[in-house]
């Protein structure tokens, strides 16, 4: 799996230096990066869409929207990517916590400082980066858990539905459910395991997925399934700040 990283800094030398430090870390730890270099907050915001980057290294002092403003706009749309400030500024420490930064590195950044920050990021976001490996015909395929919409079992074969494709693998539901063991996944039917992150809405007998597919809710456990989904939704809304500002 490749982890996508944006380095946003108005100084080319700094961008290249951070990319070098990242590559050093990747070589030692066996992490493959996909690095994009961006020269301003405006360039960052032009290219940004939720899910585009897993980790963002953000300078603060830049022309146009500075790093704090760019991070604010980023967080308004994406609460999951890891954000690290890399800056000469020591004046934004308190504000950085409001933006859920994973770390705040003051330049010049030593390799060990970046290593420690990345170790923490990868550990903290381990669920976000989790994958499963499945055998499909002659290939071994690695699938990000967060990309799975739902899994359906038909005649001893698992059909793993992702946004772009359906992967078939000769696995049973219990074995897959045990391997995935994620709070985001819900066994809603004897033959279906659904990723709740991709549920658009719940109808009487089905979950409507964000690609329009319908995933059935087993009738024997329908009330418990609905309750589990509502509990998950409640927790997720809190984590994303959705329960804030009650009055």
């Amino acid at each position: 799996m490749r982890i996508s990283v944006a380095i946003c800094d108005d100084l080319e030398e700094e961008r290249l230096q951070m990319a070098r430090l990242l590559k050093n870390y990747g070589r030692r730890k066996g992490v493959a990066w996909e690095i994009e270099l961006l020269e301003s907050g405006a360039a960052f915001l032009d290219l940004f869409r939720p899910g585009r980057w897993d980790i963002i290294l953000m300078d603060i002092y830049m022309d146009g929207p500075d790093g704090m403003e760019a991070a604010r706009r980023l967080r308004a749309q994406d609460s999951e990517c890891a954000l690290l400030f890399v800056t000469t500024s020591v004046e934004h420490g308190i504000a950085s916590y409001e933006l859920q930064a994973s770390d705040y590195l003051v330049k010049p950044v030593a390799q060990r400082d970046l290593d420690a920050a990345l170790d923490w990021c990868l550990q903290e976001k381990r669920e976000y980066f989790r994958t499963i490996n499945v055998r499909s015909e002659w290939d071994e395929i690695e699938i990000l858990l967060r990309d799975i919409l739902y899994i359906e079992i038909r005649r001893h074969t698992a059909f793993i539905h992702t946004a772009g494709r359906v992967v078939q693998t000769p696995r049973g539901m219990n074995a897959l459910e045990e391997e995935i063991a994620s709070e985001n996944f819900l066994r809603c039917h004897r033959s279906f395991l659904v990723n709740q992150r991709h549920i658009l809405r719940m109808e009487k007998r089905d979950f409507v997925m964000d690609n329009g597919d319908l995933v059935p809710i087993g009738s024997s456990d329908a009330a418990a399934t609905r309750r589990k989904f509502m509990d998950w939704l409640f927790l997720r809304n809190w984590k994303n700040g959705g329960a804030a500002g009650m009055f």
């Binding site: 020591v90 004046e91 934004h92 420490g93 308190i94 504000a95 950085s96 916590y97 409001e98 859920q100 930064a101 770390d103 705040y104 003051v106 420690a116 923490w120 903290e124 009330a223 309750r227 509502m230 409640f234 927790l235 809190w238 984590k239 700040g241 329960a243 804030a244 009650m246 009055f247």
Partner: protein, 240 residues
């Protein structure tokens, strides 16, 4: 109410201890969380995170060994959240090494603490109080804090919350008994309100968050005004 959750606060400043303690108790009351609060002083090296849902540590005077100690606590107690109190930006940057779940700027305000608690929801969620009541063809299961006010409807009650109204098969008097007071208060024979959902008081009427006007029983007006004043003082007065 939910299960009791334990928070421990470490600070050597008496004023900070008082503010954090008062605001945390007010927050727990508003959000209907059963909270046990332990106030500690001395070095964080001696802190005890066993059984704690959340540690709140004042970063004033934290030495390098204290930071190492907090890192060790984070590793040993993954189910315990860490909130740091910091006075300035430099300290806030330094304490990133402890990977706190949230940071509260000093002097501590109610809104600052409330924002930190929101970030730490997963650590204290089991303390949340819930309503679980029968309704037509189903059960209503909502956290207590989401109930803004309830209105009597014969032998049933109508619950009002941000998402709309729900009718439950429970008389208002029985419902009232299951609600913590404060933050809930009976204001007349047909209404129980959450004090946080009251926008303002106008004469003998309450103007609610959704502009609904609820008249207060003449005999209860003084009690309601006093309860509201106490409720608001506990959250906002020190900030103003």
């Amino acid at each position: 109410m939910g299960k009791m959750v334990r928070f421990a606060v470490y600070t050597n400043e008496e004023k900070t201890a008082q503010r954090v303690s008062a605001f945390l108790r007010a927050w727990a009351e508003e959000i209907c969380v059963e909270l046990q609060l332990a106030m500690e002083s001395g070095s964080p090296a001696a802190l005890d995170a066993d059984g704690c849902a959340l540690l709140l540590v004042d970063s004033a005077g934290l030495a390098r060994q204290d930071i190492a100690c907090l890192q060790a606590v984070r590793a040993a107690y993954p189910d315990c959240g860490l909130v740091l109190l910091a006075e300035d930006d430099r300290t806030a940057i330094d304490v990133y090494q402890c990977h706190p779940n949230a940071l509260v700027p000093k002097p501590v305000t109610y809104s600052g603490l409330d924002a930190a608690m929101e970030r730490c929801f997963s650590f204290w969620q089991k303390g949340l109080g819930w309503l679980d009541l029968p309704a037509q063809h189903r059960r209503v299961h909502i956290p207590l804090y989401q109930l803004f006010y309830a209105e009597a409807a014969g032998r049933s009650s109508v619950l009002y919350r941000a998402g709309g109204a729900l009718q439950v098969n429970c008389a208002l008097s029985a419902l009232e008994e299951s609600l913590p007071q404060p933050p809930f208060l009976r204001v007349q024979k047909s209404f129980v309100v959450h004090l946080g959902a009251v926008r303002r008081v106008s004469g003998g009427e309450l103007i609610m968050y959704n502009d609904k006007v609820i008249s207060v029983a003449r005999g209860r007006l003084r009690q309601v005004q006093e309860a509201l004043a106490v409720y608001r003082r506990a959250r906002g007065a020190e900030e103003g």
